[in-house]
Amino acid sequence: MAMEVTQLLLNAQSIDGSVRKQAEDSLKQFQEHNLPAFLFSLSGELANEDKPADSRKLAGLILKNALDAKEQHRKFELVQRWLMLDATVKSQIKAGLLKTLSSPVPDARSTAAQVIAKVAGIELPQKQWSELIGSLLSNVHQLPPHVKQSTLETLGYLCEEVSPDAVEQDHVNKILTVVVQGMSSSEGNNDVRLAAIRALYNALGFAQANFSNDMERDYIMRVVCEAALSKEEKNRQAAFECLVSIASMYYEKLTPYMNDIFTITAKAVREDVESVALQAIEFWSSICDEEIDILEEYGGDFTGDSDVQCSYFVKQALNVLVPILLETLLKQEEDQDQDEGAWNIAMAGGTCLGLVARAVGDDIVPLVMPFIEENITKPDWRQREAATYAFGSILEGPSPDKLTPIVNVALNFMLSALTKDPNTHVKDTTAWTLGRIFEFLHGSTMDAPIITPGNCQQIVTVLLQSMTDVPNVAGKACGALYFLAQGYEDVGPSSPLTPYFQEIVQALLTATHREDAGECRLRTAAYETLNEVVRCSTDETATLVLQLVPVIMLELHNTLEGQKLSSDEREKQGELQGLLCGCLQVIIQKLGASEQTKYGFMQFADQIMGLFLRVFACKSATVHEEAMLAIGSLAYACGPEFAKYMPEFYKYLEMGLQNFEEYQVCSVTVGVVGDICRALENKVLPYCDGIMTQLLKDLSSNQLHRSVKPPIFSCLGDIALATGQDFEKYLMYAMPMLQSAAELSAHTAGADDEMIDYTNSLRNGILEAYSGILQGFKNSTKIQLLIPYAPHILQFLDSIYMEKDMDDLVMRTAIGVLGDLADTLGSNAGTMIQNSLSSRDFLNECLSSEDGSIKESAEWTKLAITRAISA
């Protein structure tokens, strides 16, 4: 058997496809047939020094994949399977893995380290394999350096896999001690040192207590800074990665070290190789992120009770940091604008400069202006591009008061550079900078407009002309036009863009038809801009928007004509259909918003729906989602008329609700069900059996992404409101599900911010479902069916009130549910309601809320309760 496995593993890496396929199938069969034996023989292969390195490595990787998966439900399944394995087999496998850490073969050691961490990730939280960390720690003191190296590597992976609360503080202390010792310059073997530095990167999350201890923190920081000056490039890079991580994890502890860190990061940015310099820049970007967050959260207004105070590191370093970053801008690579994945020191430096501007505001402007003025007219394109990029980077952060006068001077220069500069990079950055000018300094909230009747025409002309430039410049010109249009979003009945509307639309459509429109996202940018131009248009151009409908319909029709596409072509077709459906959605929403324009649009409704149905038939996930979004808007616009499309559309609706893998599609479809309920009201009833079945399945699935569950609950409310007392037949399924979800979401003790946000969205969904059901049954003879659920609903309201972590939306929905309860159940629930905490403290709190919509709901609820009690 063992021999056979070796051969299978080697064959599975064969260059001969059929051999590979056969081997993969056999391995799969083996795994399904006898999992314990399969895993055991893999661990045996990995541990066996007589086997080839290739088969050992693959054995380890397959073993690792049998313990973990990306998808949550699959991961859960694998964990359960491992935990249920026979204890003897497991301990044999683990012994083999630990033994492999001493192997002379580096790949075998490294693979074993990863597998051990995966097993630890499963077992340590279950309080199993408690001797692991002890035995690893004792390994470190063994002599052969390669064992020390692989052990440190294992400890690093372990810290990555296991959550800090599964490891006791004593073990954490010991792990950090051996790791930091391994990092120090006294460690002679560099492989050991590098493994230790990388291990620290993962162990930082465990070091909360140690970072609160001055002496220990001083020691860790000293060793990290030393490592950042190591002779070895890899050591320096790994050490700077640690500093980046420390910047965001322990920002508030950094003050004593900032002078040293500044010196070594500045040196690294200026002098070191790119891989190290990029991390040094990233350190400052992370510091900016932290300070931007703190300043945004507390508005710069510090009181004693805020968690973290801003130390203004960026502001203090500003005079030296900015020149260093400006220097990096001159290190551009040729063709970086054509390469999507490009990332180099100039890009990192520019990104950091933008963050610095957001962190310090006005103070950055005088430091950057001389650089711009000096370089913007130089013959070397690098200098012109760097100057332009610097200008574009500082447009977000400083106040409009500070920037507007500068922009007024620069705008003409930019417009001329966009058409006349001989260099494409300069034009690309110029178009991007114009976009940033319009994004941050143009709009109805600005005191001094930068776009005037005097320059509007010139701006439009230049941008439209640039749309015929090379694809990357044309795409950026579209982006600039996007923000130009957005700035006129609430301009009133008449928009300055109206005279150019037709010309703009034509230029954008032309751009989408360019043969090279697939490069640099040009086609996408052109359609997105068209969408924004339509969204921000006024009634003046409504007829022109209406004329656009058949044009886009024809484009969509043309995508459906292709036969027998290759998979590559199919993907492109799907993308284009997505863009066109997105465009139609925006148009439908625009024209559907007012009665007059809707009337004109409705003549196309049948044909548009026909196209959407054909797009569904092509089946591609992103299109599916875009067409679904568009259909939601169509249902909203059509109202009860939408009923005629339901027989044909229904199967796609059901398919969308079943799409667990692409949860966005499922989520969008759930929203469309709501649109349809509101459009059709009780005419939706014939479809409700199928829809309800699917929604309830979705709710009980652990495969479906959790973010879809709150909208599903809200959707139950939409169905109940539309169907009224006909919802009766679903009560016995829906109510228990709501009840158990309510119990789970009532308390948030110990949850982090993200979890609290999620819990609140879940609560909101549940409450909206209760509202819909209660309102739907109002004045029906069947309200007694709801009476048994009333105590639980009240209890839910009371408990989320006592938890004191509701957001405003939940508060409004919750107090509304209390009113619905009183309104629908009347005297049946009067006493019950009167005795609840919600009807007193919670209601009073809402009545005195500063939020108008909470107060409004509360006033209504008060009336409803008064009525219920006096009835």
Binding site: S633, Q664, L721, S771, W860, T866
Partner: protein, 405 residues
């Protein structure tokens, strides 16, 4: 080398258009859901409060629906009620106005608990603003005007002035002379119902909301008639003697603590004398003040002639032969004159009425007279309640100290 995942792609906007489309869609859906729920709540607060006060009428209103739908009878479906049309609406609104009783004795605590104001002469009506139009309906449910106004959702302007489905209902008197709607009470505003609020609160809100909306401004393209709130709080002497922009037709007394209640209520009272009204004594169908007081009563199945009060007061009884002879049916309104025997009271209650049958009323008639009206008219002819009587009561200190001995 690739940038860190969380860094914004170089020279790219922060949000994709698809993401923006998703978010805008979610926003629209959340708003539609909220609107749909608010619509049910607002409608509920209007209809249910009426239903609980006038159960019989509510049934009458909805009967036409119940024929169409399969729902069992006697069931009020709010979602259907929201789509009432034509005749149903007419019938429904006909029963919603709060009708003051005529003052036949002076309430206690007149100075403390009651507002008094001069009633404008004109057509009493409900003004309903919704869905971009404003409609005024008279007491019998018929439409007086259909026009644009600055009330929330009262005109089809570019900027919607409130949630699309919200509506406002005002209790008004249309005064022909200056083409103005004088608002005497507010029932709903911007989708929110004020039925259950005390009068002092309603009047306070009415004034501030009317001002805020611009409805009290001069007429314009989107605002055909001016709305003007009557001054509720000036006190008796001012209400009686001060000049008003409108022709007065008596004084109205409103109890400060009373909720808005459809139909007759003793918590709102009307009083008139010749100084403050041209119409103290009722006229007959020819517009003349008849020699003898006339009353309109409703004929019941058992032959009783009753007032419009709830419960009704029986004034007389017709025998079945007489009914057949005149071709009358139950539910008909009949006009009678009060003979010289007049009305006799024992301990404040009507004991006997000496009536003479005159004839059947015209079809336009929707209500019988109320008891208080008959009595007030009777007193006006024989021993009226005078302004001086009111003044004495208004100046009397409140009887807040009650000795228990």
């Amino acid at each position: 080398m690739a940038p860190p995942d969380f860094r914004r792609p170089f020279k790219r906007a922060a949000v994709s258009d698809q993401q923006r489309r998703r978010e805008l869609t979610l926003e629209r859906q959340a708003q539609s859901r909220h609107d749909a729920q608010q619509r049910v709540r607002n409608l509920a607060s209007t209809i249910i409060s009426l239903q609980s006060q006038e159960p019989d009428d509510a049934d009458v209103v909805l009967e036409p629906y119940l024929e169409e739908s399969e729902a069992p009878p006697k069931e009020l479906d709010i979602r259907r009620a929201s789509r009432m049309r034509g005749e149903q609406v007419r019938n429904w609104f006909a029963r919603q106005l709060m009708l003051p009783e005529w003052m036949i004795d002076i309430p206690d605590n007149l100075s403390q608990d009651w507002y008094v104001f001069a009633r404008p002469a004109g057509k009493r009506c409900f003004v309903v603003a919704s869905n971009g139009t404003t409609v005024s309906r008279q007491r019998n449910g018929s439409i007086l005007h259909c026009f644009p106004s600055a009330l929330p959702n009262g005109a089809k302007t570019r900027e919607p002035s409130g949630p699309a489905h919200s509506y406002s209902i005002l209790d008004c008197i249309f005064h022909e002379g200056d083409q103005t709607y004088y608002v005497i009470d507010m029932v709903c505003w911007g989708g929110c119902s004020y039925y259950d609020c005390p009068a002092d609160f309603r009047f306070y809100w009415l004034n501030s909301k009317l001002e805020e909306s611009g409805a009290s401004g001069p007429p314009s393209y989107y605002h055909k008639y001016r709305f003007s709130a009557v001054t509720h709080e000036k006190g008796l002497p001012a209400a009686y003697t001060d000049a008003t922009p409108y022709v007065k037709d008596g004084l109205l007394f409103y109890n400060k603590h009373a909720h808005y209640q459809s139909g007759n209520t003793p918590l709102a009272l009307v009083w008139k004398d010749v100084k403050c009204s041209q119409y103290v004594l009722d006229t007959d169908s020819t517009g003349q003040v008849p020699d003898q007081q006339q009353v309109v009563l409703e004929l019941q199945e058992d032959g009783n002639l009753i007032t419009s009060d709830d419960p009704p007061i029986i004034f007389a009884r017709l025998n079945s032969e007489f009914i057949q002879q005149l071709g009358l049916h139950s539910g008909n309104f009949v006009r009678c004159a009060i003979n010289d025997g007049g009305l006799s009271f024992v301990e404040g209650k009507l004991e006997k009425a000496d009536l003479k049958y005159i004839g059947k009323c015209s079809r336009g008639r929707a209500f019988a007279d109320s008891y208080s009206k008959v009595v007030f008219q009777h007193m006006a002819r024989h021993s009226p309640l005078t302004y001086d009587d009111l003044l004495v009561a208004a100046n009397k200190a409140p009887s807040d100290v009650e000795m228990a001995g």
